[in-house]
């Protein structure tokens, strides 16, 4: 992978005079050490939220979707908003691990493990919603084209929801395999360091017998490249297909050809924001400042700025197309979005997604940890509103004014959403205590070219 030489003007990606051994020790520390108080506090809060969410899901499934705020006109609201939001968040992981791998962006190595973990955990949250939003989730397996004895009943291949099923399940499995492949050498490292027999046994199991031979490494590199090639189209396809749920419909505000690229850009945007949120905390808590450097954060901020601008252009294009099309229903849908009863949601979205990332043009701000963190939260809020705006404001006033109504969430809608956030953090926190959260094997591969210790040495030789 890559050359061992890197131009001296490039900023080092590993700071703190790290040697190979230092890397191993640093990465293994959270796994081998004991959890601190903060971890337990955050974990308890997340677990409580998760349990509350489970309670709300049980209530929904046992009583009916009527426990939510939906009605005859607005058939989807928070459920699908949350679904799209979580799927979108998942996008950063694949982008970082696959696309940046193909483009040989070495800065990804500090963050890809956690980004991929975030992807998998986010997709798990996303996958929950299509299931629980069903009126009869116990029959949810009917959406799979499995042989059955109901006669010649088959799924409807015309339905974008079915495409979703395939897209999401493919995405989850490819991401999982990719993630785990990358984890093998790192698990093996933990196995080799482990002193407790139980730990050793477990890490031996999950590292699939990695022995570190040259042949292992050769196959590892090949598989990584093949999987990156497979995963790259998924970055585009998954959210494209999610956007088809809307784009192929006939509802003004949904029926839009711009949706696929717009959704993908938005997904990357929100994904990077979430990676920023998580890693800014993690680098502090786990003392990874030397691996997730200011340089990493700045680069992610630049991606956020770029994708935020793409999203902004998409919003304005939608408005332009509504006007330019001359279709009165389309025009009214967008007029209603911007000035109707849900204008507050629209303008929240605009401010969070289009306005706030523009601060990243200022170098000082994009290199500020605190500011990056705040913007990452703001962007995630904005992206949630984007999906809410698309779904609810399009539905609540569509063709026949007689059916126009409003949507207001119940505590169950809110509870399930909070529950998935809790679930996500429960998974992430457990991951942070048991997994090598930095791809140490990969970091080691660039240590001699991008580590500050070696960079300084090579500079002094020149």
């Amino acid at each position: 992978m890559g050359s061992h030489y890197e131009a001296p003007i490039r900023k080092p990606l590993v700071t703190g005079n790290k040697s190979y051994h230092d890397v191993s020790v640093d990465v293994a520390r959270p796994v081998e050490g004991r959890a601190n108080k903060q971890w337990w506090i955050v974990f308890s809060i997340s677990l409580a939220a998760f349990l509350w969410g489970i309670g709300c899901i049980i209530y929904t499934i046992s009583t009916g979707i009527g426990t939510w705020g939906l009605n005859k006109t607005v058939g989807w609201a928070w459920d699908i908003t949350n679904f799209v939001w979580w799927v979108g968040i998942g996008h950063a992981g694949t982008l970082i691990s696959a696309v940046l791998l193909l483009f040989r962006q070495k800065w990804r190595m500090g963050i890809n493990r956690s980004a991929e973990a975030m992807t998998i955990f986010a997709v798990m949250q996303a996958g929950l919603f299509p299931l629980v939003h069903m009126g009869r989730p116990w029959l949810g397996y009917w959406v799979f084209p499995i042989p059955n004895q109901f006669g010649s009943l088959w799924v409807n291949f015309n339905s974008p929801l079915l495409w979703d099923v395939f897209a999401i399940s493919t995405y989850l499995s490819v991401s999982l395999v990719f993630w785990w492949t990358g984890l093998l050498p790192d698990f093996a490292m933990l196995r080799d360091r482990a002193v407790k027999p139980f730990q050793k046994k477990i890490y031996a199991l999950v590292s699939f017998g990695w022995s570190g031979r040259a042949k292992d490494w050769q196959r590892f590199e090949e598989v990584s490249l093949v999987l990156a090639g497979l995963a790259t189209p998924l970055v585009l396809s998954v959210h494209t297909i999610v956007s088809f749920d809307f784009a192929t419909s006939i509802i003004p505000g949904w029926h839009t050809t711009i949706f696929p690229p717009y959704f993908v850009a938005g997904a990357v945007f929100s994904g990077f924001a979430m990676v920023n949120t998580l890693l800014i905390i993690m680098r502090k808590v786990c003392n990874f400042e030397d691996y997730i450097t200011m340089q990493h954060i700045e680069l992610m901020n630049l991606v956020i700025m770029l994708t935020g601008s793409i999203v902004g252009v998409a919003y304005i294009t939608e408005l332009f197309m509504a006007w330019y099309s001359g279709v009165e229903y389309e025009q009214y849908a967008f007029l209603n979005r911007a000035t109707g009863p849900y204008a507050w949601a629209y303008w929240s979205m605009m401010i969070c997604n289009v306005f706030s990332p523009q601060f990243m043009w200022i170098k000082k701000l994009r290199r500020s940890i605190m500011f990056s963190f705040i913007i990452s939260i703001v962007v995630n809020i904005g992206m949630w509103f984007e999906r809410f705006v698309i779904i609810v404001t399009s539905l609540h006033r569509d063709y026949l004014p007689s059916s126009w109504t409003m949507f207001s969430p119940t505590f169950v809608d809110i509870g399930i959403f909070i529950g998935t956030i809790g679930f996500f953090f429960v998974l992430f926190l457990l991951y942070a205590r048991t997994f090598p959260v930095i791809a140490q094997a990969e970091i080691k591969s660039i240590l001699k070219s991008s580590g500050d210790k070696y960079k300084k040495t090579s500079e002094s030789h020149e």
Binding site: G64, K72, G135, R136, I250, P401, S402, M406, S408
Partner: protein
């Protein structure tokens, strides 16, 4: 007799020490080798039962035992021991009968399945009153009401009929001896047999007075008619024969004078050969009639009187004084000119509860020689006399009366001073009430006769002179009930049943040789008008002076003025006079105009509401005012005072309500004998002083916010001219259809082609010319918005009732709804123009906001919307499990048991007709309506599945009915005639606005209607190609 004998089976048994005893003592003959089995390790290991097997057995037996402990639900069903000959399981039987509950009168067909009446359908053989209103359609559910009175009661204790009869007869005889008066206080029966029976009862008991009482009185009209024509009845109007219909405060499409006018009215409203009738309505409340009028003039009740007087003046050529605002004056003048021009093809109707006004109206129609006006066959559906009732109330209070026997009336609820009357009743020696439930009056009555539902009764009705109809039972009485008439016969000492009594009335009276069986089969009989004419109720001279001089009556009308606000009491389309208040279908039936359910309220103009501080601001993100965050409509409360009676009533802003007037509906605010859920609204009868629907009222704002449950929260059309196509008769007659009914065009290769052209089609089309292809045509010109179809659909398709809170959350389950739109400009055409003239962003912001608000006196349009059964259905493509797909005959079908409930189909439906089962609506105490008890479930249509929680449902185009028709024809080996195919809605539609049929039959009506130049599809530009066709609304704007 005890014996000590010992029996033995063998000699050994006799011998005490024998083996027999030993054997008897030990259960196991051979010793069980427990020791060998357990003690020896070796044998244990050799045993074929291993430890694993042992655990398997334990596991299996535990599982089996626990499974056996789980008992499945036991549903007891009792098969016929002897199969009745007439009942074939799965095949419906129809019986002709008649509803005559004192308020609703209609000749109907009753569909029964396995002996249960499940559906009311119109009797198309009936010449008059053959239509079914929403209430008549819903009346079948009242049969299965478990709050009904199930047996006779004396002072609150259940009793037997024999005891009941003995007591009553004894007291009647005593009273007869004491010379005290016995009063029969009854509803309008309009029944020749009951009239005869009461006459015989009078003969038997001497001092008997018969008072007929209508809860909502038409006494003024009856008095005026009686005075002029010497017969107590109401003029019969056939609006089909009128080219100009002018109504002054008469909601003749509602319940005015017994109703039943919409069929004939609608016939004249469809443009034929460039002609249609013109309808001008002068009124205060926005009524169904006003909503259908070509010209609607809002004016206060006192102005109505002046307007009527002036109309008289202009028509007869005299001059009449009185002041009216200039615009109303001009409208009256123009209308009079139109009346005169149309001459005998014109008619004037009035609903003003004033004898003078009614008399003037009769005179105007005579002066016009109106062909639509008929006094030879007067309508008998209202007989009540205010004067007689007032007299009775006074007499009861003064203690003159010895007995009051009531039937079909609930005066404690329906009289303004009902409680006072009730208290007075307590002092009467004998009080009897025949009632279907323990109503408000029951608390004041000692003898409660449990009356049967009309579907369990015998009876006859004379709708109008010479038009007879029969009531026959369609089911054995569910409870221990007995009719009022049967009871009278019993008390007269007769052994005859009311059935044979009716038969003899008919055969001696007007059957005149024609067959009784045929009359019973048809349900109706029309005879030449020579038949017996008995007076129902006793004659009581009115307190008012007779209208001897029409001139003075006119002068009195012209002087009518009012101080302050005026209240007009009215009956709602759904609730009528309130006797079916425990019927959840009717409670959930949306008012055609306000589209509110489960409520009554005062209707008020926006101007008055603003003036009185009763208007709520628009909601914002931070404040919930007019609407809650979930869209639910809110209203303020007002204290309204009439004659010292004050009620706290919610305020509904009603566009078109005349400034200076308010309206309030009867029929609500009932408590007695009603489920808690049904105890809705406020009783307007409290304000019904002197049985006058018009009252002076003072209004003041009071605190509190009322939560309405409205089905429709947005009232205007936003200028969307392709939802309602609307034009004027002039344009319709002179311009090409492309002008007033343009076909949407799409661009293909830069050439404009019609949206339904095959070239514009992304889909592979199927050959639909084979077999049947169903279409439903809906004419917006003849649809009056009456809502009979809504309830018919409810009944036919087992649609659940969801209750007020769920309706408020926009979760009503109606498969068929009637959208009502108000124009924002003076007309819908104005709305479209306004929208088309919007230029730029600033203008669109302002003008769209303006289009959201209805005009002060808007045009109104009704549009029934059900599943459009699109040939290119947007719902079908998006369902992941193919639960909704297209039928061979054009229907969009919904396989409930395949549905997983993603709701994607509902989101993607442009018409928003799909309804989701948010909860379990049957056998769920949260939804304690008819589907939560075994009796109420009797009304369910066995041909239609009851949907479970979590599935989507919607209109099926009554596939169970079309399939039945197809199978019947197939069995008989014949072709299906046009008109045989029906849906519940098209069958219930009295105005003929809905026509259903097969468009592959090119001779069918629906085929012609589909290809009519007025035909269009809803939102045609989307390209969904619906199988429901609408017809452009044409308004007669021609001023004669």
């Amino acid at each position: 007799m005890a014996s000590n004998k010992k029996y033995w089976k063998s000699v050994e048994e006799l011998d005490t020490n024998s083996i027999v005893e030993t054997l008897q003592q030990s259960e196991f003959v051979e010793e069980i080798p427990v020791g060998d089995f357990l003690g020896d390790k070796e044998t244990l290991e050799d045993s074929s039962t291993t430890r694993r097997d042992f655990l398997k057995y334990v596991g299996f037996s535990t599982a089996a035992a626990s499974l056996a402990a789980c008992e499945g639900p036991v549903i007891k069903s009792i098969p016929y021991v002897v199969q009745p000959e007439q009942i074939r399981p799965g095949v419906a039987d129809y019986y002709a009968t008649t509803i005559a509950n004192g308020y609703d009168f209609a000749s109907v067909l009753v569909k029964t399945r396995e002996g249960r009446p499940i559906k009311i359908e119109p009797n198309k053989m009936a010449g008059s009153n053959g239509g079914t209103s929403a209430r008549v359609q819903a009346s079948v559910l009242s049969l299965y009401d478990n709050m009904r009175l199930k047996s006779a009661k004396v002072n609150g204790a259940i009793t037997t009929w024999s005891k009941f009869d003995a007591d009553v007869t004894k007291k009647l005889t005593e009273l007869n001896g004491a010379g005290k008066e016995v009063v029969l206080l009854t509803q309008t029966f309009a029944s020749p047999s009951t009239t005869r029976l009461i006459a015989e009862f009078k003969a038997k008991y001497g001092n008997v007075r018969h008072v007929v009482y209508d809860s909502i009185s038409e006494s003024a009209a009856l008095d005026a008619f009686q005075e002029k024509y010497g017969e107590r009845g109401l003029a019969a109007y056939n609006l089909e024969d009128a080219d100009v219909i002018v109504s002054v405060g008469a909601d003749f499409l509602g319940d005015w004078q017994g109703g039943g006018h919409e069929g004939a009215y609608a016939k004249g409203r469809v443009p034929k050969k460039g002609k249609m009738s013109r309808h001008v309505q002068f009124e205060s409340n926005m009524s169904l009639s006003g909503a259908n009028a070509d010209l609607r003039v809002p004016l206060t009740p006192s102005q109505q009187k002046v307007a009527l007087a002036k109309l008289y003046g202009y028509v007869t050529g005299g001059s009449v004084g009185g002041k009216l605002p200039a615009n109303i004056e001009a409208a009256v003048k123009k209308t009079a000119a139109e009346l005169k021009k149309a001459g005998s093809r014109a008619v004037v109707l009035t609903g003003i509860q004033d004898k003078g006004a009614q008399a003037v109206c009769l005179v105007i129609n005579e002066a016009l020689a109106s062909k639509a006006f008929n006094t030879a066959t007067p309508v008998k559906l209202r007989q009540g006399s205010d004067a007689a009732m007032n007299q009775l109330v006074a007499d009861v209070k003064s203690g003159k009366i010895g007995a009051v026997i009531m039937a079909g009336v609930n005066p404690v609820y329906t009289l303004a001073n009902g409680e006072a009357f009730g208290d007075a009743l307590k002092k009467v020696d004998l009080t009897v009430s025949f009632t279907e439930r323990e109503d408000e009056t029951s608390a004041y009555v000692s003898y409660l006769g449990a009356a049967p539902h009309y579907l369990e009764s015998w009876g006859d009705v004379e709708f109008k002179k010479g038009h007879y109809s029969l009531t026959q039972p369609t089911i054995k009485p569910l409870f221990d009930t007995r009719q009022f008439q049967d009871s009278l016969l019993k008390w007269m000492g007769s052994t005859e049943s009311y059935y044979t009594y009716i038969k003899s009335t008919w055969s001696t009276g007007f059957l005149s040789g024609s067959s009784w069986n045929k009359a019973l089969h048809d349900g109706v009989l029309v005879t030449p008008v020579v038949a017996v004419d008995a007076q129902e109720g006793d004659v009581v001279s009115s307190e008012e002076a007779p209208v001897s001089n029409i001139g003075s009556a006119v002068a009195k009308l012209a002087k009518a003025t009012s101080k302050g606000m005026e209240l007009t009491l009215y009956a709602k389309t759904g609730m009528g006079d309130g006797q079916m208040a425990n019927n959840p279908w009717l409670q959930e039936f949306p008012d055609p105009l306000t589209r509110a359910t489960w409520d009554n309220y005062i209707t008020m103009s926006q101007a008055d509401a603003d003036r009185l501080g009763l208007s709520l601001e628009q909601s914002t993100f931070f404040t919930e005012a007019r609407h809650d965050a979930n869209g639910g409509l809110n209203g303020t409360y007002a204290n309204i005072t009439v004659n010292g009676v004050t009620l706290k009533v919610p305020v509904m802003i009603q566009p078109g309500q005349a400034v200076g007037s308010i309206g309030m509906a009867f029929g609500y605010g009932r408590k007695a004998g009603l489920k808690t859920e049904m105890q809705t609204g406020v009783s307007a009868y409290k304000l019904y002083a002197n049985a006058n629907t018009i009252q002076n009222v003072t209004i003041e704002a009071t605190e509190g916010k009322h939560e309405f449950a409205c089905l429709q929260l947005h009232n205007t059309l936003m200028g969307r001219g392709d939802i309602i196509k609307d034009t004027t008769l002039e344009v319709f007659n002179t311009k090409d259809a492309r002008i007033w009914n343009p076909k949407p065009m799409v661009s293909k290769d830069h050439v404009m082609i019609p949206v339904d052209s095959p070239d514009a089609d992304l889909w592979t089309s199927f050959d639909r010319s084979i077999g049947h292809h169903f279409n439903l045509s809906i004419d917006l010109n003849s649809c009056t918005g009456c809502g009979a179809c809504v309830v018919a659909c409810h009944a036919e398709n087992n649609v659940p009732v969801v209750g007020k809170t769920e309706v408020r959350r926009s979760r009503d389950m109606h498969w068929l709804r009637i959208d009502r739109y108000y124009s924002s400009q003076d007309s819908f055409i104005g709305d479209v123009e306004k929208k088309d003239n919007i230029t730029g962003l600033g203008s669109s912001l302002v003008e769209f906001a303006e289009l959201e608000n209805p005009a002060e006196n808007p045009q109104v349009v009704f549009q029934p919307v059900m599943c459009q059964h699109c040939n290119h259905a947007s719902c079908e493509t998006v369902c992941p499990v193919a639960a909704t797909s297209h039928g061979r005959q054009g229907q969009n079908q919904m396989a409930y048991n395949r549905c997983v409930g993603t709701r994607y189909c509902a989101n993607n439906c442009a018409y928003k007709v799909r309804r989701f089962n948010w909860f379990l609506y049957n056998d769920n105490d949260e939804f304690d309506f008819n589907m939560n008890n075994d009796l109420g479930k009797m009304v369910l249509n066995p041909d239609v599945v009851v949907r479970s929680r979590g599935v989507m449902e919607k209109c099926s185009m009554c596939i169970q009915m079309t399939q039945k028709t197809i199978l019947d024809a197939k069995r008989d080996g014949r072709a299906i005639k046009d008109g045989e195919f029906q849906t519940a809605c098209s069958n219930a539609c009295e105005t003929g606005a809905m026509t259903f049929g097969d468009i592959n039959d090119h001779d069918s009506d629906v085929y012609k209607l589909k290809n009519d130049e007025r035909a269009y599809h809803l939102l045609e530009h989307i390209g969904t190609e619906p199988n429901v066709v609408y017809h452009t609304k044409v308004r007669n704007s021609n001023e004669a």
